[in-house]
Structure formats: C-alpha cells, structure tokens
Amino acid sequence: MATQASRSAARYMISPSVIMLFIWMAVPLGMVLYYSFRRYRLLNPERAGWVGWGNYSNFVFSGDFGGALVNTLILVLGVLIITVVLGILIAILIDQPLWGQGPVRILVISPFFIMPPVSALVWKNMFFNPTNGLFAALFDWLGFQPYDFLGQSPLTSIIMIVAWEWLPFATLILLTSLQSLDRDQLEAAEMDGAAPLARFWYIMLPHMSRAITVVILIQTIFLLGIFGEILVTTSGGPGTASTTLPFLIFKKALLDFDVGAAAAGGVIAVILANIVAIFLMKAIGKNLD
C-alpha cells in the first residue's frame, strides 16, 4: 500500500528524529574519544597535548578503578537478585484472588515514582541513621545494638535503597506477564496432582521467563548509571567503599577537573554498557516481527 509519494513523505517525517539522535550520539562519542587521548585539565588548560593511552592507564591503574568496577557489579547484581526474586514472589501473591487488588497495586508501584534524591535522603536519615533512625528503633526494640548502616556497609545500604526503588518495576512487569497465563493450564496441572512448587517451576516460571529477561536487561541499563543515590548518601565513601564507575567519572571530571581521565573512563563505561545492550536489543528485537 505504500506508494512512492508516501515513502518519500515518510522519510521527511522520520529524518528529524534520526538526525537529532545521530548528532546526540556521534558528537559526544567523538569528543569523548578525542579527549580520552588528550591531556586536558580544566585548572591548567594551557598544558594540553596528545598523551596516547596515558589517560586510560591513569584511569585503569589509579587504584580506584578496580574497586569501582567491582562496586558497580555488586550494586547491579545485588539489586537484580533482590528485585527479581522478591518481584516474582510478590507478583504471584498479588495475582491470587484477593480483596482490593487495585489499591494493593497502587501501593506497590508507588516507590517507582519517587525521585532518587528523595528516596536516598529519606532512607539515609529516617531509616539508616544510627541514633534516631527507624531501624535503630527496631533494633533497640528487639534488643540489638543500633547499626551504622551507611558507615559500616555503605554499598549494601545503597543496594537496599535502589532495590526499594526498582522492586515495583520488576513486580509490575512480572505481574502483567503472569496475568496473561492461561488459567486452564494451571487448573489442569492442579487436577493432575501437580504440587504448588511443581506448578510454579514447570508452568509459571517458564511463562515468565521472557518478562524476567526484559526486567533484568532494562534494569541493568538503568542500574549501570546509578548516580543520584550515591551522591546524596555517601558521596562514594567512606573512602571509596561505595564509589561506582559513573561516580568515579563524575569525580574525575567535576571534582578533580581532569577531563582526559574522565573521558577515558567514559569510553570504558560506553563499552561496558554496549555489551549489555547487545543482549537487550536481541531480546526486544524478537518482539518486532
């Protein structure tokens, strides 16, 4: 049905988006590559020049990089495991017949809409604070010593905050997928004497597998970039205990004013994200046909 005229009209309608996105991608990528091979410090801009792989070796061997990479992986994996496992359990629970499913959904999805600095500061001050936080009160009530969450285990605490923010997303998507499951199939399995665990393992989980893949991939993309939560809770500390890759780049660029090193870090971050992206694209691309 597409005529020659509508084809060329379509091209004009698509091109603004394509051109803009191309510029948005190509110009920064080109610049970040360029600067990653240049010496450029904002406080001392006269001394500029090519430094080969100097920025990369600086960034990679600075001592902070290895830790930041490990922290990034722990943060991403920790949040993924918590949100997917709890998400599956909560989705199955909410999918059962119950009174007030609508309000329950609304309550569960709510944390997703809270802006990251708010979530992080509420948790930091009103929950994690060792002298007057709610966890301190809970520990006190149970007869334990209060625990300095952000001081003693900063990364775990940040994982808890971020998991709280993303659990609603995982739950909602898994619930949506579960609701499309054919009820007759479950019922037939029940009649044939399949135990609840068997029904979960052989029917529900395979049915949700696609949604689980999508949750993992999309969350990974966002989790690799977690920034605001770290900035307002620990600023990457104590020491570098909660410094992740994005935070390290931010530190190099806007605190140390070392554009070259930050650019080298940026290139590394882009490469890492692309490895994840390839898998995500495959999963979503399947749906297009």
Binding site: P16, S17, P97, R105, V108, I109, M115, I173, G225, N274
Partner: protein
C-alpha cells in the same frame, strides 16, 4: 481460577498481600507523617507515631526560606518542555514508521533504542564542555534539550507501539475520500491516537521529572529543578528531618499522583512493547 477460591484462602491472600504492600509503601507514608511533625518530634527516639501537634508549619518554612517556587517551576518547564518538544519531533517519525513500512524500519527502531544505551556518565565530559563553550550551563534550555534527546528514543518507541495497533484500512479509506496527508493525520489518526499519545506524554514527564544525573550535574541554581533542591538537604543542617520530609512530599506528590494514573501503561512503555 475457574474453581472459586475458598473464602478462607482468599482472606489469607488478602492479608498477606496488604502486609507486603504496606511495607513497600511505608517509607512514603512515614515521610508524609514526618512532614507534619515539629522538628524535635521528628528526631525523637523512640519514634512518635500519631500523638503530636500536627501542623503545616514545615511546608510554610520550606516554601518561604528556600525559594521552593523557582525549583518547582524549573522542574515543570524542564519536564514538560522536554517531553512536548520530543513529542513534536517523534509523532511524525512514529507515524511514518507505523504506517509506511520500509525495508529498514526495524533496523532504524533498534538503532534509536541503541542511543538510549549510552551511559550518561560516559558522555558527561563532552556535554559539560559543550554547555560551557556555548554559555548554556545552568540554563533550563540546555537541560530541556538534553532530556529531550535522552527520552526521544523512548517516545518514538512508545508512540510506534500504539500507532501500530491502529488499523491501516481506516487511513486508506480516508485517502480514497481524498484526504490530504495533513488532514489524514489531524482528523483521522490523531483522535484514535490520543490515548497512546497521552500515556506517552505522562510517562515521559514522570521520567524527566525524576531524572537525577543531568539535572544534578548541569545546574547550579538558576535552572536547578526539584532534584537539586532535595539534594541540597544531603549535608545535615541542625534539625531538618521534618523540613526534608515536607520538601520531599512537595517534590514527589504531583508526580506520584500522575504515576498512579499511568501505571497501566507503564509496563508496555518501559519494556518497549516487549511485555503487555
């Protein structure tokens, strides 16, 4: 299940689900409660639950002392500005891709999505340098453009998945009746596409409102939105829990309510149509 659940089982499910839901919601509830407390009560240990003199004093203090209005206005301009600008650019593109299938439509869509995979931290340096060179640092303009470009792939994708569900025969009929391309879009397509457009708008406003990488790194004061306003509370300043809570409630309440309305569309929008 076809076989009705027994009342006992339904009761147990209901209680379990509500307990889980209330635990997940609890931090939001507690923030709202704290925002009505006097500061000494807010930091009391053990915590005070309901028995305190409720007041709106914290809200008044935050509004008066901290220039809340400007931050709020910046958030509105940036979130709605970037989304509406993105829609203007994305609607024709999504329309064309949905109704004029070219050989490369799929590749184009996947390529657009791939630009979204670029980590913000990776391109912080260039955007920062460009912003500085053009004298655009700490302007709403820069932030609006950056957030628009960041969300453009999602906007195109969401619109595309909605437009694709509109039957093409209707457009053909309109064309037979002599409708021009512009008329086709304005009178035939738009009314059918309004629900999809509305939920795309809603979800992207929410995401732009809560965006906390560029909004924190590209603004100082003039263009600073609510994310920056709240981040200002990160260093302790005497008794401040109640004021922090009041400021937080004012920052999230409008968007939380919008979010409740958009939750049905959320899944499909955020999974690029992969889960419906």
């Amino acid at each position: 299940m076809a076989r009705a659940a027994t009342p006992a089982r339904k009761t147990v499910n209901t209680i379990a689900a509500w307990v889980v839901a209330l635990i997940i919601f609890f931090p939001i509830f507690w923030t709202v409660m704290t925002s009505f407390k006097p500061e000494p009560v807010a930091v009391a240990f053990p915590p005070v639950w309901f028995d305190f003199p409720w007041s709106f004093e914290n809200y008044q203090t935050v509004i008066q002392l901290r220039g809340y209005g400007q931050f709020f206005w910046n958030s509105v301009v940036i979130a709605f500005g970037s989304t509406i600008l993105g829609m203007i650019i994305a609607i024709p593109a999504a329309w064309a891709m949905a109704f004029v299938h070219g050989p490369r439509t799929k590749d184009l869509l996947m390529w657009m999505l791939s630009t979204k995979m670029m980590p913000a931290a990776g391109v912080l340096v260039p955007i920062y340098l460009i912003g500085k060179a053009l004298g655009l640092m700490d302007t709403r303009f820069l932030l609006t453009i950056v957030l628009m470009l960041m969300n453009l792939p999602i906007i195109v994708w969401m619109l595309y998945t909605y437009f694709r569900e509109i039957p093409g025969e209707i457009l053909e009929a309109a064309r037979m009746d002599g409708a021009s391309l512009a008329n086709e879009i304005i009178y035939v397509l738009t009314p059918m596409a309004v629900p999809g457009i509305a939920s795309t708008l809603l979800l992207n406003v929410i995401m732009a409102w809560n965006e906390s990488f560029w909004t924190l790194n590209l603004t100082a004061f003039q263009a600073a939105p609510l994310t920056k306003f709240i981040a200002g509370f990160s260093s302790p300043q005497g008794l401040f829990y109640a004021k922090l809570s009041a400021a937080s409630v004012m920052a999230f309440l409008p968007i939380l309510i919008l979010g409740w309305f958009s939750q049905k569309q959320l899944v499909r929008g955020l999974t690029f149509g992969a889960v419906k």
